[in-house]
């Protein structure tokens, strides 16, 4: 039995926005795998909740008229992994969220919840950063779309305007981002399931037509800083480069000038830095292979 003050069940996006304006103190709950856990811990005990879980309109993956991928915020991880559009265009996202927690957590956990709680360890977050996803927010003033890097403000804080009744309604992956692009996600955990990432690394590449050079490389991390982050120095090394072992190593080592992991009881900074380099190396190699390239 949860210690909640009241529960408001939203029946539609508009209803959710309205409830949000009516109950400014209330916490939004999507799948609940974070919110309910915190409520039980006492952190959010006694709060009002606005449940958006029953809004089926916010579920599912589709392509819009411009072939941008649209993922409803309430789409569960397991549905993302199984979705044919995801599998066809951005399979790495399906693979990344297939490493969240456990099968049951992947059935309840939503991509909206995963990003809205603003934590750096979210398995979807580094991949969404690496693919330059757009976050769609719906509020009383209509729809607002912002790049995911701007959505994350600081640890645990994202750009949702509660005073405008906003909720996150979708995540979009523009066609320009995913077209002809192949990637790989590596989660580093202390065990192989039921795990929170010690570090997450997502890389994707688009190769030149002759598959001899990297046209565009993007790399992003979770847990390498207070919020998910890209590693621009590393990207600069790869962009326009031929695919050699030396380049891969330089790419990997240069992430150290971008990332800023912290010391915590979960892992030391030195350990995270070391692993970050190795993950970058492995994720780039795999991405190149997936793109049909070869490392010389």
């Amino acid at each position: 039995m949860y210690d909640m003050k009241a529960l408001y069940e939203a029946e539609s996006v508009q209803h959710a926005v309205q409830l949000r304006l009516e109950h400014p103190e209330a916490q939004i709950i999507a799948g609940g795998s974070d919110v309910l856990v915190q409520m039980r811990e006492g952190k959010r005990a006694g709060k009002e909740l606005i449940s958006i879980y029953m809004i089926d309109a916010m579920r599912g993956v589709s392509l819009d008229e411009d072939e941008n991928i649209r993922i409803g915020s309430l789409t569960s991880f397991s549905h993302i992994t199984r979705d044919p559009i995801i599998q066809k265009y951005i399979n790495v996202l399906g693979e990344a969220v297939d490493q969240v927690g456990s099968p049951q957590i992947r059935n309840i956990g939503t991509i909206g919840g995963n990003t809205c709680n603003g934590v750096t360890s979210a398995d979807s977050a580094s991949t969404l950063h690496a693919w330059e996803a757009i976050v769609e927010l719906t509020g009383v003033n209509g729809i607002r779309r912002i790049p995911i890097k701007d959505f994350y403000i600081k640890a645990g804080v994202v750009d949702i305007r509660a005073d405008e009744g906003e909720i996150q309604t979708a995540i979009l992956i523009p066609k320009a981002s995913y077209e002809n692009t192949f990637g790989h996600y590596i989660k580093y955990g202390m065990r192989n399931a039921m795990e929170i990432a010690s570090l997450g690394c997502s890389v994707n590449v688009r190769l030149s037509a002759d598959k001899q050079t990297i046209d565009r490389c993007r790399i992003a991390y979770g847990v390498a800083g207070p919020v998910p982050m890209r590693a621009p120095s590393a990207e600069a090394v790869a962009n326009g480069s031929a695919m050699t072992e030396e380049m891969v190593n330089e790419f990997a080592l240069s992430v150290l000038s971008d990332i800023n992991p912290r010391d915590s009881w979960r892992a030391s900074k030195a350990f995270r830095q070391h692993i970050a380099v190795e993950m970058a190396r492995r994720a780039l190699i795999e991405s190149i292979h997936r793109a049909g390239g070869e490392i010389k």
Binding site: I29, Q104, M194
Partner: protein
């Protein structure tokens, strides 16, 4: 001020409805209102899998699922697997035959996930099965015999011979 809601759902094939405290988890509702005590509490935060049930065919930890969300859903618990005269389903029998049960506390949750896996009708490798079953912790069995019970039932349902477990033995 308590807040209640009527929750209509289908549990183990039967349409039911109850007035439920909105603060209740699905575990609370199933155990306390419907006396389905196969639903166990091991952590109450979705980490152990003991409270796992199937909702519209998918496995969920009922401890972190609000009871009111069950509205309109089809819920299955271990109690729903038995035949009318207490007959066991093949997966339950396999758990017994393969010594996949020890203290029995994780067993109901495991079997329900196994049901979801088996009902896909697909054939999985041992590694895939391990991943599909990885949402349940067991401290007694080391998972070995649970894997054997699930793979045996899977192959039997597919009408295939059960291949021997391949012990990794690098040359």
């Amino acid at each position: 001020m308590s807040q209640y809601k009527v929750v209509h759902c289908n549990i183990n094939g039967k349409d039911v409805e109850k007035v439920v405290d909105v603060r209740a988890s699905l575990t609370d509702m199933l155990r306390n209102e419907y006396h389905l005590t196969s639903v166990k509490k091991g952590c109450e935060v979705g980490e152990c899998g003991a409270c796992n049930v199937l909702i519209d065919g998918e496995a969920f930890n009922s401890c972190i699922y609000l009871a009111v969300w069950a509205e309109g859903k089809h819920i299955r618990t271990l109690e729903g697997l038995e035949g009318p005269n207490g007959e066991l389903s093949d997966i339950q029998q396999a758990f017994i035959d393969e010594t996949a049960i020890q203290c029995g506390f994780c067993t109901p949750g495991f079997i329900m996930t196994a049901v979801e896996i088996l009902e896909t009708g697909k054939e999985y490798t041992d590694e895939e099965l391990r991943k599909l079953l990885s949402g349940h912790l067991c401290r007694c069995t080391g998972y070995e015999n649970i894997l054997r019970a699930v793979r045996k039932t899977m192959y039997k349902r597919l009408g295939k011979e059960v291949p021997a477990v391949s012990i990794q033995n690098p040359q």
